[in-house]
Symmetry: C2
Subunit: 351 residues, 2 copies
Amino acid sequence: MNDQNGLTIAVVGATGAVGQQIIETLMKRDFPYKKLVLLSSARSAGKKVNVGGNELIIQEARPESFDGIDIALFSAGGSVSMELAPEAAKRGAIVIDNTSAFRMDPDVPLVVPEVNEEDVRSHKGIIANPNCSTIQMVVALEPVRKKYGLKKIIVSTYQAVSGAGNAAIEELELETRALIDGKPYEPKVLPVKTGEKHYQIAFNAIPQIDKFEDNGYTFEELKMMNETKKIMHDSNLHVAATCVRLPIETGHSESIYFEIESDDVTADSIKELLKEAPGVVLQDDPANQVYPMPADCVGKKDVFVGRIRKDLDNNKGFHMWVVSDNLQKGAAWNTVQIAESLVNLGVVKKK
Amino acid sequence: MNDQNGLTIAVVGATGAVGQQIIETLMKRDFPYKKLVLLSSARSAGKKVNVGGNELIIQEARPESFDGIDIALFSAGGSVSMELAPEAAKRGAIVIDNTSAFRMDPDVPLVVPEVNEEDVRSHKGIIANPNCSTIQMVVALEPVRKKYGLKKIIVSTYQAVSGAGNAAIEELELETRALIDGKPYEPKVLPVKTGEKHYQIAFNAIPQIDKFEDNGYTFEELKMMNETKKIMHDSNLHVAATCVRLPIETGHSESIYFEIESDDVTADSIKELLKEAPGVVLQDDPANQVYPMPADCVGKKDVFVGRIRKDLDNNKGFHMWVVSDNLQKGAAWNTVQIAESLVNLGVVKKK
């Protein structure tokens, strides 16, 4: 919405997989902005992007680019955020950062509006958008935590390649075509672009997302574990994750085991609760083969939940299957939603 | 091995994905057989198969087909086993059955030779081969159970389509090609051929393998849960499974959380144990991006284990990633291995 009394918004990383979705999402929403400034690295500067019928030229992101910006949506990689987010904040912009650069900084709120929207009020110039896998999990589990208490989460992920950017999407497409035609293909991107080894993703499963820590967990796994505790404000929560990359273009799935505090809760009570939960769509009717799948979630903003069932050995244990578009709720939509929270809660005011 | 003093072996379901692998495995092994009889449904009877340079004609499986058979390897679906396995046993053959028809029958040993080889001695004519997902899990966990005690398993699977037979392999190939060419494709096989609805498997994840029970679990999940307890002879073991079908042709992966009885065991001790374990290949060197992947396991008999790490909240909890060729150790190789156990333990004697 082009609103003459509205806000000036910058998108940093406008040509990336997430940046493109942020621009589209801003267009679709009734977001009160006056001016949209598209920024990127020097490499992409000068490119033209059609935004709602207007042609915008992408400019190189520099400290001065943020003069006069109200909200800056960063999605251009951790090093760009590290360098420029503090510069943007210094110039009065509120940064909503999609990278992992500031997520665990105690001065930076880490926000999923369905869970901890009020945390945006305590920002000091930077608000972090959580990891895609974390977001869909906490949206599905927060209603359970609020009503029944949450003790433990064990999650195994089924993650799409688009979480690793446009180069990974292209690799999956080219590699799949090559393999199916019986031709060779040399992987160059997955699992980690800057890693030493690259592996086939087509018709394969790679149990590595991001680099390894010395304790044997990947950064992706530790992100899910640490961010969940921060967003839910519960440092005693037990969270363990195994993160796996799969030959799926878009849509992350998660097999989640969780234990609650309350006794004698039924799977049906959990289903009733999630049917009404914000941001959640319940798809849980096994008799009719109804459950969430990544191919069905693409382009949608919701978190889809199904296969809710009680553990047969533990009265406080449950299993469920959670699917969401990792570029939407996992990134672009949650980012825009935080910007909307800033406006709705009056943290940022229109002129 | 064509051994004139050897056994007479029948393979039932000789044209199926598993049947073909059983024949190949018998050829590769030094198995002491005199005669190989290939059987199938009436539909496939008459087809010719090249076996070690000889052309064998597949015959229709009937009760009389089992006269004079020492060991009959069944892999033609549950209904064929239900009908013909007791007939074969009545005629003196020892049946090794690859279907789920008799697995939980208290009179039928359920055998993974690395775990409970001695159980073959108690057969009453039929021995069952466990579900593919169960086999690779118990091979990886039995050494842990024996040394440290095992209390609990929570497993999420990443299963290949070949577990659903040749039609599912063809569906993945045709559907992938169609989608990548932007053409429509109507799924007809997965997740369950006889089910009401069929879903896209290419670039997707389907959280359904086999049909649903009323408690919200699939039969595949309940198989893993019940078979594991039976093979490990521990009805008190807690096992929970979530089974998911993925666009992978061959090779099942499993993200396994387990809790042991012993305190203060390190991840390194578990690695040392599994490095020496029968049927296990340890691939666990995160610093060098070494971990098992389905694309690497195809055609191999071993169970590959990696990503072993301690749970950060529970001193008795561990996570690991287990991969194996579902047609080999998950089916054909375990079946032939049971036949070898029958010979090696003297349960079946050469003439």
